[in-house]
């Protein structure tokens, strides 16, 4: 048995096999194939399997993201069936007597190069599709298909760290827990862990490739993982895990109850979601609405800027299926630690203080309008709120509102339906907190983004694990900022909520209630524990 330690994200236990999540290294030699016709048959079989995979992805995306997003996989399947591509690969195998791997490398590279050399940026970008398919086929040929990075059985995944786009793609039904070598308690890995209630160990430096496939217990209570645990340990921790499951069942009894304190004060508890795929979790955990829909995942999930129609479908799905409950969608918050190739953002010295969120949107007006039009159209289907992130001045809000109005007029002229909606801003900068009186005049609500607010107020990089000793999530400056914001908001008729991680911190629930907070938006898994906490508080004492 090996014991390795790290930093645990939440109290919980995962028991299962370890799976090392690592992109395969591909080495392809240019040697001559002994039996070219056998290689050609291998190629044909691999393409067939790749097409099958694309069709499976299509089905999966159809259910989770809709026809528009799924269509790309159908197109990929057709590309794989392309005669020109397949003939050129077989020509290399049979004519030059090469292996299937070598021929796929050459043949697909040539096709990608053809697209790359076209003069239109759209067609140039299609070379990425070809390279994607090349990797798929190579993975199959070399027996290292990327889907198997996660494996086909439920497992505890071990990785260097998970990128935001990777956390989206993981098959959550096969995910028992996560262990990363890097990461901080505010990284995307940690956020995913909390939103899914997944036992997760970060900063685990002792990770070894030899763990792959071994039985393990991830003990979130004690910040450690046991590889190849003893029978006694398996029994003891297995029992503890069952108790956790029972406790979870008790929480389910709170469904349908109000978030009311003993002395009768009721607030709203909403959920934070990353996309339409989380709607199920909102319902399962009986949240009264969505306080933060992170729209950037709509952007991170695609290879090119999502169209108005694609965005509209995603927003409409959430707004319509949760109606009459409110859904607050945050406009694009790309930049800082969330970057995307097609946005062509420059590398920055200080990305967190750089070109991100509303700053990109106000600069690239057409890009912003695509999202605002999609949002306005979705508003016809339920109870929508729109909020702008990273606001530091009234001028920005006025500008954003003017663009929103422009979109509204356009859509009305086109005869499109628009519903009623609330407009708000994220309070995630100190500048916004200090100007909250003026900002309150412009909007219907404030939502405190405490993760960024803490980072900017304390000058603590939330991604830097080394700063954890200096970090204080209950820093008085942050708590005072929250108090100021709530008071200013109420002076100007705004409701004020908290959508950062702090909202789910049960040790602060009473403090927030006393400050007068109107809404707390937390990850879906935290909704019921928070309800339980609220119902146990007596503000009259």
């Amino acid at each position: 048995m090996i014991v390795a330690t790290g930093k645990s994200i939440l109290n919980g236990i995962a028991i299962g096999k370890i799976k090392i999540y690592k992109a395969p290294e591909r080495t392809i030699d240019s040697g001559t194939a002994a039996d070219p016709s056998a290689e050609a048959a291998r190629y044909e079989a691999a393409v067939e399997k790749a097409i099958e995979q694309q069709n499976e992805l299509y089905e999966k995306a159809l259910v989770s993201a809709g026809e528009e997003s799924a269509a790309i996989f159908e197109t990929h399947a057709l590309m794989l069936e392309d005669d020109d591509l397949n003939d050129s690969v077989k020509e290399i195998i049979l004519g030059q007597k090469k292996t299937a791997e070598y021929a796929v490398k050459e043949g697909y590279d040539n096709m990608a190069e053809m697209f790359r050399s076209m003069d239109d940026p759209y067609f140039q970008a299609r070379s990425a599709d070809i390279i994607d398919l090349q990797n798929t086929v190579l993975d199959i040929l070399m027996g290292t298909d990327s889907a198997s990075m996660q494996g086909t059985e439920p497992s505890i995944l071990v990785a260097e760290d998970f990128a935001p786009s990777e956390t989206v793609k993981l098959d959550k039904s096969l995910l028992l827990g996560m262990i990363t070598i890097e990461g901080s308690s505010n990284s995307h890995t940690a956020i995913l862990a909390r939103s899914m209630n997944l036992p997760t160990l970060i900063q685990c430096k002792e990770v070894s490739d030899s763990w792959d496939g071994q039985m393990a217990i991830l003990d979130g209570y004690n910040h450690c993982v046991y590889i190849d645990p003893t029978k006694e340990l398996l029994e003891a921790l297995g029992k503890k895990r069952e108790e956790d499951i029972k406790k979870e069942a008790l929480l389910q009894d709170l469904k349908g109850k109000t978030n009311t304190t003993i002395d009768g004060k009721t607030i709203r508890v909403y959920a934070n979601i990353g996309g339409p795929q989380d709607i199920g979790a909102v319902n399962q955990n009986d949240a009264e609405g969505v306080g933060l829909f992170r729209s950037e995942f709509v952007y991170l999930n695609s290879k090119e800027a999502p169209t108005e129609e694609e965005q509209f479908q995603a927003y409409k799905l959430a707004v319509e299926s949760l109606a009459p409950r409110q859904v607050v969608i945050r406009t694009c918050d790309i930049g800082a630690d969330k970057t995307i190739d097609y946005m062509n953002l420059d590398k920055e010295e200080n990305p967190a203080l750089g070109f991100r969120a509303i700053r990109i949107c106000l600069t690239r007006k057409d890009f912003f309008k695509t999202q605002l039009r999609a949002l306005l159209r979705a508003s016809a289907y339920g109870n929508l709120g729109i909020m702008f992130p990273m606001i530091i001045s009234v001028r920005e809000v006025v500008e954003a509102k003017a663009i929103l109005e422009e979109c509204r007029r356009e859509l009305e002229a086109e005869g499109k339906q628009i519903g009623k909606l609330e407009l708000g801003i994220m309070l995630d900068t100190t500048a916004a907190v200090l100007c909250s009186d003026e900002l309150g005049e412009e909007v219907d609500f404030f939502s405190l983004g405490t993760n960024d607010l803490t980072q900017y107020t304390c000058a603590i990089d939330r991604q830097n694990a080394k700063l954890e000793p200096f970090s204080d999530t209950h820093h008085p400056a942050v708590l005072r900022s929250i108090q100021m914001t709530i008071e200013a908001g109420h002076r100007h008729g705004c409701w004020v909520g908290i959508c950062g991680e702090l909202g789910a911190d049960l040790s602060l629930t009473e403090t927030f209630l006393r400050m007068g907070v109107d809404e707390l938006s937390v990850n879906p898994k935290a909704v019921l524990p928070l309800r339980k906490q609220i119902r146990s508080i007596d503000l009259s004492k």
Partner: protein
């Protein structure tokens, strides 16, 4: 043989998604389909990558030639497809 001309109005031109659906449509017919770019470059309409390789953009006029036993019905259906999708 049937032939029709069509000017692309889609802002992205003949792009991957509709082109993929087009290829599937075309394969339903027995006829041979050829698409000809304004520069006179030809591609077989059943070959997705070759069609995309023509790089047809908004505002360009393409010629579609259809030859085979079901060319009447095929021409009508594919012309309709172009009007609806490009």
């Amino acid at each position: 043989m049937k032939e029709f001309k069509y000017t692309i109005t889609d802002p992205v031109g003949i792009h991957a998604r509709p082109a993929g659906i087009l290829v599937k449509e075309v394969k339903k017919y027995a006829s041979a389909f050829t698409i000809i770019s304004p520069e006179g470059k030809e591609a077989n309409l059943t070959k997705l990558l070759a069609v995309m390789g023509l790089g047809i953009k908004q505002g360009q006029e393409v010629t579609i030639r259809i030859e085979g036993e079901d060319e009447e019905a095929a021409a009508e259906a594919i012309e309709k497809f172009f009007k609806e999708n490009f």
